[in-house]
Structures are given as structure tokens and as C-alpha cells.
Subunit: 678 residues, 2 copies
């Protein structure tokens, strides 16, 4: 076997060819001293420069490596909360390392965290998301929104929508768990959510593809009259940590396809802005061979669509006085919105995507994906036009403000502008889908002197949204920007035909003049997202979340669904099994490395109610509870209690065990669940 002797030779070689790793600073010293690497200083063979050379790293690569590397035991400076797209979850990513810290189970069951696999509280939250009584156990999450105080992220909650089924979820950042899911009672799908008002009084959910109200049927021939657009304002009760559905309301809108929304802030606080497309009222090509026009053409025929300008503050009162009940939701009819002055339209270049409000709230920035400009509207001018009644009604009677009278600026950026974020230095950043680039441009007064394109940096490829650090708040941080690229051909090892998305981290600390080719922007990192198709993200200073987060639950017996101690939680010393007719109720504790009790006997057909408490209180001392055959897996973080209920339909012997590797005797943390035949 020549291979084996080869090993020995290889090993000897290694011993002779020792390389000691030294740093850049040491390398400089050696280089300057004229030490040419003879003798012991062959140690330079392991130097930073040699590593860079051996790996073919360019100057830019070295800079990027050093800017993104986060050493063992150090924490990232920012957190990205990203939608998971049709994975149905929320991803938490550290910046600048671009490491995925967690996938938070939201709409899709996820067994690692015990989300929807027997833990009754999680099952009930997922059941809240049923559509007309049917389980819908996935979602197309699009737009996460961090809770805000005074227009700035406060690190307490995250909201997320489900485009596919018009649902909204609430995540508590104390334990990073989903607490609530709401199905929109009037719409079957959405898009323009979630966005929050500056103090998180309202969570905004705008519609998308128009349908009849209340998930009803109407033939598509009645599209113009029976199909409706909508925007929903969910009332958030911060002290309860829940949306209060009873205090929420919606506005009926024309059957244009509403797209992204944003809340006004500072000078424009109290107002909400949403884009729309398909003001053409296209309904598709119809039957095969009928010669009808597909949506991509039919919904792009007109030059303009309408930005929706909504007086939210006023709408709250009108909802109370003129709202009608549809499927349990208070809805302001369109005519009431017109009559009461709640809704105005502003022409915008056709088929726009993002409507993004400048940090001071003065301007609405529209990116029309079929127009190379961003179009900037002035809130003051909009108010003036409303006051002057400078409008014409659209076909539904909604006042359409005069375009020229409300326009502040148009800046030509390039092809396919979609979404804009801001930094703290007066720059805006707009994703250009068709250019595959990020444009950096200057805001006019009061931010800077002139509305002006500074330049762009290529991204790889087909950027959808982008996110800058706190880039949609009243106080953007700048520093980092991430391009959420939809395609990643040739960027990574291809794991089959379904390629990951590509989050590209860009350094935006330098001024445009620092690197004119890229307007000062430096590409730092490519992060493959092979776990979902994120659409939108927000980036928050990590410290703000660290102020709130819990590493262990505050007390033993903690129920994450109520955020309090469950008085019925099993505790050390009161473990027991009680039979009551055909119901067997178990109070069990978990601690490194055993269950008490560790043997449960029932009869086939029994109802089993199994209460569990992890009485370990050390950080990271999570235990699992897995029952074969019964589709049960619960994750119990330190102190947590949970209850599993099921019918023992299968007889047999089912060894339950801890599915989390918790200790050296983890494999021995097991028990027998015996189901005797009837």
C-alpha cells in the first residue's frame, strides 16, 4: 500500500516545512528590516501576505476580509431581520460577518425550535393563520418591520406579512418567538406590509392582486365593480405585545394592485403612502387561444399608475363613524374615504415598486421599475395641492393630484429602479434590477445642495430590495448596505438547479470621491441564502436588541405564549401521572440528563396531555422532547414549560428522548412511552 508510506513522507515534510502564522504588522517589520526569509524566518511562509498571495486575494479582497471577519467570541455590530420569502420564516443575520444567526419559525412549522410539532401553544398560533378553516402551513413572507419609537427602531418586536395569504405575524424580540398570526378578514393576498407608524401604533398591510372582499367569489367579468383593493391598519398593543384585531380597520380601495407602502414620519407623520400598478384593470389573457393580453403587458400599458396618499390620523375617526363590518373587520367604504378626504392619488411612472420616505419625512421617493428615474414628491406640495383642490377625479372618483404641482425632483439613475434606502450623510441608495447595481445619489435640500446621481456599484445579480443600516428610520446609520440579489449564477458552488439568493454586503462609509468608479462604495462580501428567497430586510444596531433579549427565561415554568409563569407547570418534586377516565395527564420535568418520570404507560385510544418543564436554568441548556411515530418534537429552552396533547392512536413502544445534545449523557436522556393495545 504505497499510500501509507506516502502519509509518512508527507508528515515528515510538514515537520520540516513549518510555517508560523504572523500578522501584517510583523510582516512589515520583517520586510523593512531586510530579512529575506532565510533560516528560521522561513516562518514568513505562513504570513498574511503569503496567505493572500497563495489564495489569490486582491487588495480589495484583503480589505474586505478584514472588514467582515468577526473573531471567535465577538459579536456582530448590526442585525438584519430578513423575510424568508416563501420559506415562510424570518432570518436573523449578523453584520458585518453575514452569518445566519437564526431562522425564526413564523408561518411554517419548524421542528428544530419545536414550532408546530406538538407544543400546543405553537399549534394554536399556527391555527390562527388558517384560511377559511384550512391549515396553510407556509407563507410568502415579504416585508419585516421592526417596531419603532419616535421613528427609530427600538428593538422590541418584528412584524412580518404573508403575501400569498394576506396574513401578519408578531415576533417578540425578548425570546425571538412568534406570538401571534392574523388572517386578514377581507383580502386573500397582500403585499404592502408590514410597515409601522413611527410609534408602532399601527401595522400597515397593503393589498396586491384585487379580489372580492371577504374572500368571496365574483366572476372576473365583474372585476371593475366587485373586485377591491385594500389597505389594512392593524392596531398594535405594545403592552400586550399583540395586535388588537378589534381595534383595527381597513380601507376599501379601487381594484388597482396596491404595492409597497411606507408610513410618513416627522413632518408627514399621520399619513401613509402606497404604490399601485395595474390601474389598467387588466384581468389577464383569459382562455387559451382567446388572444387576450397577459398581465405583464396588460398591467403595463398606461404611462402612469397612482401613489395612494392616505390620511391615517383622520381615517381612524372615520372608521369609527362610517366603517362597515366585512367578515368581522371594520372597513371604510371607498366613497366614504373620498367624501371625508382620506384618500388622494398622485400620478407616478408606471408599475412602481418602492415608495420610500426620506428620514425627515419631507419626500416620498418612488422607484418606477419601468422608468429609469426615481421620482421625488414633496409632502408640503402634496398638502398644498390637497388644500387647493388641485385635482381631477379618477374613474372611481378618487382625487388625482396634479403631478407637476407635487413633484420635487426626478433623478435618472438607470434601468429598473425598485427600492431606496438612506444614510445619515444625505445620500440615497436605490436598487437597479435591470442594471444589476446599486445607485448612490444625493438628496437635495435640506440634506444637500442638489438632487444628483453620484454613481453606482455593480451587484451580482438582479437586485430586488436593499437595506442600509437603520436606512428607513428618522436616523439612518449609514456604514453598511446589503443588496438582496435574486440571482446568483456563477457566484457560488451550484447546489443543484435551485440556486441560493445572494446578499452582498457593501461598505458605504466612504464619500463618492474616495472611489469614483463605484461612487465610494466597496463590495465586501457575498452571502448565499440557500434557505429561502428573502424579499426585504431591515438592519438594526445589535445593541438595541441586546437591551431586550433574554438568554434564559426569567423563571422556571415560563410559558412563552403568555410571557409569564404557568401555575400548572410541572416543577421538581411535583412530577406525577394522573388518569381520569380515558385521559392520562402527565407532569414531567427535564434536567440534565433525565426525564422524571421516564416511563409512561397508557392504553390505545387514550387522550394524552403531557406537561413538560425544563428545570435547567443555565444558558443554552435546552432540552428536546421527541416521541417517535407521533410527529411530536418540542424544544424547551431553559426554564420553559409546554404542553403536548394527542390521542394515543398507535399501540406499541415509543422511546421518547432528548433531541438536543445537552450533556455527555445526552443519549441516556430517554424514556419509554408504552401504548398497550385496547
Amino acid at each position: 500500500m504505497p499510500r501509507r508510506s506516502a502519509w509518512r513522507v508527507g508528515r515528515s515534510k510538514l515537520i520540516l516545512g513549518v510555517g508560523v502564522v504572523i500578522a501584517v504588522m510583523a510582516l512589515i517589520a520583517a520586510a523593512c528590516s531586510g530579512d529575506d526569509g532565510g533560516g528560521e524566518s522561513s516562518a514568513l511562509g505562513g504570513s498574511a501576505a503569503d496567505i493572500a498571495q497563495a489564495r489569490g486575494l486582491t487588495e480589495a479582497d484583503i480589505s474586505a476580509a478584514l472588514k467582515t471577519y468577526v473573531p471567535s467570541g465577538q459579536q456582530d455590530e448590526y442585525l438584519i431581520f430578513s423575510s424568508g420569502g416563501h420559506a415562510g420564516q424570518v432570518f436573523v443575520i449578523g453584520v458585518p460577518s453575514m452569518r445566519l444567526l437564526k431562522t425564526i419559525g413564523v408561518f411554517t412549522p419548524e421542528p428544530w425550535q419545536g414550532w408546530g410539532y406538538g407544543d400546543q401553544d405553537t399549534m394554536e398560533i399556527l391555527e390562527q393563520g388558517r384560511v377559511d378553516g384550512n391549515d396553510v402551513l407556509w407563507a410568502d413572507t415579504h416585508h419585516p418591520a421592526l417596531s419603532e419609537t419616535d421613528g427609530d427602531y427600538d428593538g422590541e418586536f418584528v412584524f412580518i406579512n404573508d403575501k400569498a395569504n394576506a396574513r401578519v405575524a408578531v415576533i417578540d424580540l425578548r425570546d425571538f418567538e412568534t406570538k401571534q398570526i392574523l388572517k386578514n378578514p377581507i383580502a386573500i393576498n397582500d403585499h404592502g406590509g408590514t410597515f409601522v407608524t413611527p410609534n408602532t401604533e399601527w401595522v400597515i398591510e397593503g393589498g396586491q392582486y384585487a379580489t372580492p372582499n371577504g374572500w368571496e367569489y365574483a366572476p372576473i367579468s365583474e372585476y371593475e365593480s366587485e373586485y377591491k383593493g385594500m389597505v389594512t391598519f392593524w392596531k398594535f398593543d405594545r403592552s400586550a405585545g399583540r395586535i388588537d384585531a378589534d381595534s383595527s380597520f381597513a380601507m376599501e380601495l379601487p381594484p388597482y394592485w396596491q404595492d409597497l407602502c411606507d408610513a410618513g414620519k416627522l413632518v408627514s407623520e399621520g399619513w401613509v403612502f402606497c404604490n399601485s400598478f395595474n390601474t389598467e384593470l387588466a384581468t389577464g389573457s383569459g382562455d387559451v387561444g382567446s388572444g387576450g393580453e397577459a398581465f405583464e403587458a396588460g398591467a403595463s400599458a398606461r404611462d402612469n399608475d397612482y401613489m395612494h396618499v392616505i390620511n391615517l390620523d383622520k381615517a381612524v375617526g372615520v372608521a369609527a363613524s362610517k366603517g362597515v363590518d366585512i367578515n368581522g373587520m371594520t372597513v371604510i367604504p371607498l366613497q366614504a374615504s373620498i367624501d371625508e378626504g382620506l384618500l388622494y392619488f398622485v400620478p407616478e411612472p408606471k408599475s412602481p415598486h418602492g415608495v420610500d420616505i426620506t428620514p425627515g419625512g419631507e419626500y416620498m421617493v418612488i422607484s418606477g421599475k419601468l422608468d429609469p428615474h426615481v421620482t421625488v414628491y414633496s409632502f408640503d406640495k402634496i398638502q398644498d395641492a390637497i388644500a387647493a383642490q388641485n385635482w381631477q377625479p379618477d374613474q372611481y372618483g378618487v382625487p388625482v393630484l396634479d403631478f407637476d404641482s407635487v413633484l420635487e425632483a426626478q433623478v435618472e439613475l438607470g434601468l429598473g429602479p425598485l427600492h431606496t434606502q438612506f444614510d445619515g450623510d444625505g445620500y440615497a441608495y436605490t436598487s437597479l434590477f435591470l442594471n444589476s447595481s446599486v445607485a448612490r445619489w444625493s438628496l437635495g435640500p435640506p440634506y444637500g445642495d442638489e438632487w444628483k446621481l453620484e454613481g453606482e456599484i455593480p451587484v451580482h445579480y438582479n437586485i430586488g430590495h436593499l437595506v442600509a443600516a437603520e436606512g428607513d428610520t428618522v436616523d439612518p446609520d449609514g456604514r453598511y448596505l446589503v443588496a438582496l440579489n435574486k440571482w446568483s449564477i456563477d457566484r457560488f458552488f451550484p447546489p443543484g438547479p435551485l440556486l441560493p439568493q445572494n446578499f452582498q454586503l457593501i461598505d458605504i462609509t466612504e464619500a463618492p470621491e474616495a472611489a469614483p468608479d463605484t461612487a465610494g462604495m466597496q463590495l465586501l462580501y457575498d452571502m448565499p441564502i440557500g434557505v429561502g428567497e428573502p424579499h426585504y430586510a431591515q438592519m438594526i444596531k445589535a445593541d438595541k436588541v441586546l437591551d431586550h433579549v433574554w438568554e434564559v427565561y426569567p423563571e422556571i415554568g415560563w410559558d412563552p405564549s403568555t410571557m409569564s409563569v404557568d401555575p400548572n407547570a410541572p416543577m421538581a418534586g411535583n412530577e406525577r401521572v394522573v388518569r381520569n377516565g380515558d385521559t392520562v395527564e402527565i407532569w414531567m420535568t427535564l434536567v440534565r440528563s433525565h426525564y422524571t418520570p421516564d416511563r409512561i404507560e397508557v392504553k390505545a385510544g387514550d387522550r394524552v396531555i403531557w406537561h413538560l418543564t425544563n428545570i435547567d436554568t443555565s444558558k443554552d441548556a435546552t432540552h428536546g422532547f421527541s416521541v417517535p411515530g407521533y410527529n411530536i418534537n418540542v424544544s424547551l429552552e431553559p426554564g420553559e414549560t409546554a404542553t403536548v396533547e394527542f390521542d394515543a392512536t398507535m399501540d406499541g413502544v415509543f422511546p421518547f428522548y432528548c433531541s438536543e445534545f445537552c450533556s455527555a449523557l445526552h443519549l441516556e436522556m430517554a424514556g419509554y412511552f408504552l401504548v398497550a393495545p385496547e
Copy 2:
């Protein structure tokens, strides 16, 4: 608003303080020239050294950053295939960047990749995993096994087990999709799988917690006689890309809890080795207050457990002649295995975990987690002891070989040894759970001179398994090792009480003498795993997989379940809708940026059979098919065809749309599915 003027000041400052990024080499030149950075060379403000200093990077950090950074557009050199633990999936990770390239949906439905959300082929594969007819839609995946040719990874397939429910899955690395799930017919849970024989003829699945055969019930008082251990040998048909259940067989074993297994290779090819624990036959503490002993104590009472030594080659014949049918599986009764010389035991330090075969197949390395040594057995000596009948029977009559006669060496490593991997230079690497470290030790002849501990490197924290590049093949690569750490306290931003695992990348290219403190090993990177709890992984040279992988399907109309063109696939020009009684069958194509047809009308109660083909053939041109309310989301990669079947139980209007951001007019890629009331 003073904030706004602050922006302008900030911006001017930036323009004056321009920093241009230069590389290490340029920095050296400047430093040596004595240029002190005046005037234009304030450009040094952006240098690599300044970045390192500003970010507090040490020499080791800089080296690690440069060794792990993979520039945009370059590919990682190795791929890790990692179990997803109780996430139920397989993770694919690039090395050295430690980026998660993909989560492959296996046992758990995953909507991003359309796994189990309406695509009939995926639904049927998940149904193969039912336990006694019940859906089990999660798993505790433990041990992925890459397919091998001549004992080396060939990059064609990955197998993975489900500990919780005793299931095995087959993943094809042409498209990185799961093709088959098998429920073990005799056992309800497993652990010692999957492992493959050197040419992947057999996929090994060892048992864990003993239960009655065939998922039957027996009272635990009959544990000794009615509960059974097992090992199953699944026959893999490489040309079909499937396990052939009919040609597979199992061996009944004593009700010890079998643990990890490994296949012999080269000199030991044809033999299989499995660990066990709980040879004490502990059955737990029983009822609350009964004073019984928990498993952690009861299963750890004896000093020794038994390595199982199995003559697989011979067992194949015995299965055919003496196998009995249990639940459809051919099972060799224990007495037949004893009579035919298929099974021997070797005493091993109590409660071991890994049994790892050296690259040449000569030695079996046992890590006994409650013993500070690795214990090394000689295959030749085992053969000699068998030939000499140097044994005593255990309580079930299985020959227990004399310990001293088969022992090659014991090396004291430290506390909690679990799992060993190898490099190509004669070193072995063993995870030490209680030490929280990786021990590096030298193999004796023919690899090196002496069985000897070289030293250890701390890891953070509580390492379970580890993986070295191709470290369990006949030809290990060395270079990289990853510690699969179970705890990560203080390593990352804590995303709530459920902390991520921590994969730590370690450079093992240097000889021990290069860095005596860590036996030459350098910690390079901490990767948080916040998507599951991986147990075990294999690392393969990426090129080997690249040889097989497809970035688009070979032809339009490709069915991934048959890996051939579906003659019934919708194709451009033959799109149609056909009603047949209460069944509506649709043939639809998808292409940027529309569906044909884009409007489907049915009646409530109709059966809907919806065939879809993505006729785009560009790389990455994936389209989605999402239907609100009906829990349907399909991912169609370029060329792929799929069929969705469901009953139109809900009436209403359901806008279906492409859930993958595929083009500038992606939002317009939609249609209306109308369900008229009955």
C-alpha cells in the same frame, strides 16, 4: 431640526477624510519608503493594517480572515454535508468560507423549494416516511453518508437517517433533491446510520433504544426477552438511484442500545462495526417515587459495553437462507447470527459513541465518552481471536472476544472522547466533549511510529462530532477540520434563549511543532448554525460534486422524481384546460413573465389536476407557483415539470402567482384561479 444640518457636516467631513483602501503589499511598500502618510498618502487611513487595528484584529485573526475569505465569484474548495438534527433536513456548507449554501428538504416539508406543498412527487416521497400510516413530517437527522467508490467519496449521492423514527432517505447530488424515504419495518428508532460500504452496495442503519420488533407492543417487564436491538443493511441500486427494500435485510441483536457504526474498508472490507451501550438492560426509573434508577445511571453501571463485529459479506447469504419475514423485512434471528458466525462482541469502555475505522481499514478506534482514552482494536487480531475461538458467550450467547487479545493501543486523550476522524498525514482527531477541545494524536504503524497524543485545541463549547476533509475515507485530505459544537454561549449575538450551534473551522495543515500550544491547529472561524442542531457531517472536495451537479435540468419537461422527461408535461403550444366530469385538468407553462393560461375557472368541489412546466432554460430562472388558501407552493427550476392535485373545497377568487422573483415584471406573473360556488 439640527439633525439635518449634522448630516451635511458629516458629509463634508467624509469628503475631506478620504481613505483609499490599499492592500498589505502596498502598505509594506509605503512603510518601507518612509512615507509617513502626509498629504495624499492619508490614503493609508484605509489600509489593511488600519482596518485590522480599528477592528482590534489580532495576528491570528488576520491570518484566519485571509484563510477563510472567499471573494465574490469564487467557489469554496470543500463542501460539508451536515445533518440538520431535529430540523429534519441536510445542510450544505462551503469550506473555508463556512457559508450555508443550501438546506435540502428531506423529512420536513420546506416551501421555498416546494418540498411537500402540493407537488405530488414530493408529497409521495414524504408519504413514504409515514409510520404505521401516520404522517411524520419532521425527523432527527443524525448521520449523512456520501456515496463511495473504492472507499472514497464519489459525489453522487447522500444518505441520511432519522433517529426519531428509524427512517433513511436518499438524496441525488445531480439536483440536490431527496428521491426516496424508507421507514424501517422492524424498528421505531435508530442511531447507527447512515454509513455506507466502500462501494455503496449497502447503507447501514443501526438501532438505538430497543423495542419489540415490528413496532409491536410488549410490556417493559419483558424487556430482556421481547425487546430487540437491530442493524439493517439497505441494498442500494446505484443505477436506479434508489434503495431496493426487497433486497435489504436486518439482523436481530440483543436489546443493547446500538450506537454508531462504521463499515470496514480495504483490509476490513466486508465487515461492519457498531458500538452499543446499556448492556445493563436498564429500563429506567419507572413510576414516580418508585426509587428506580434513571437511564443515565442505570445504563452506565458496567465498566464495559460491546463493540459489535459483524461479518456482512457472510450475512448476505445467511439472510437468504435463514432470514425470517418481519413486517416485510428479511431479518436474521439472533441465534442464526451466532450459529453462522456473523456476530461477535468485543468489550469496550462503557457507553462509547464513535467507532471509526482507520483509512487503511486496519484499526477500529473507539471513543468511550466516560473513559479518557481512545481504545484501538486491530482487525487482524480480531480475526485471529475469532479463528482461535478466544471468546466467552454473553447472556444471549453471542461470543465476546477476549479484550486483551484484540487490543492494539489505548491513548489517553482527555475527558469525554466521542468521535475520531483522520488526515492524510497519520494523525487522528478526536472530539472531547467534556474538555471542549479537539485532540490531535498520532497513529502507530503503519501510519507513524507511535500511538501518541500530540495535544489539543480548545473549542467553544461542548463539541459533539467533528469532521475532517474526507476524514473517514481511504484517502483523507487533511487541511480542514470542523468542530460541531453543541453550545455557543457568549460566542454570538444571542437570538433569544435558543442559541445556535457553533461549527468551528480549524486549520490542520501545520505539523504539531508549528504551534505547540495547540498541536499545530489554528482556529479559523466560528459559524453559527441557527437553523437546526447538526449531529454529524462529511466534508468532500467540491470538484467531486461539481462533476455531477446540474445547474439546469437536461431537457424541458424534466420530472425530478423519475429523472427523465415526462411525456405528459405541458409544453409551449399545447397548454390547455380539460374538464372531465368533476375533474378539471390543466396543462400550464411558465416563462418569464407569465403563465399560460393565466385564468382558470372551476366549480367548488371539483378535483383539480394542475400540470406545470417551467419552459425557461436559463440557469437560475426558477419560477414558483403559489395558490393562496390552498397550502400550495411549488418551485419549478429551469425545465422542471410538476403536478399538483387538490379538491377545490373553498369557493372564491385566488390569485396564483410566481413566488420566485424572476424578472422585472415578476409581480405581473400572476393569474386568477376562480372557484364558483356550487
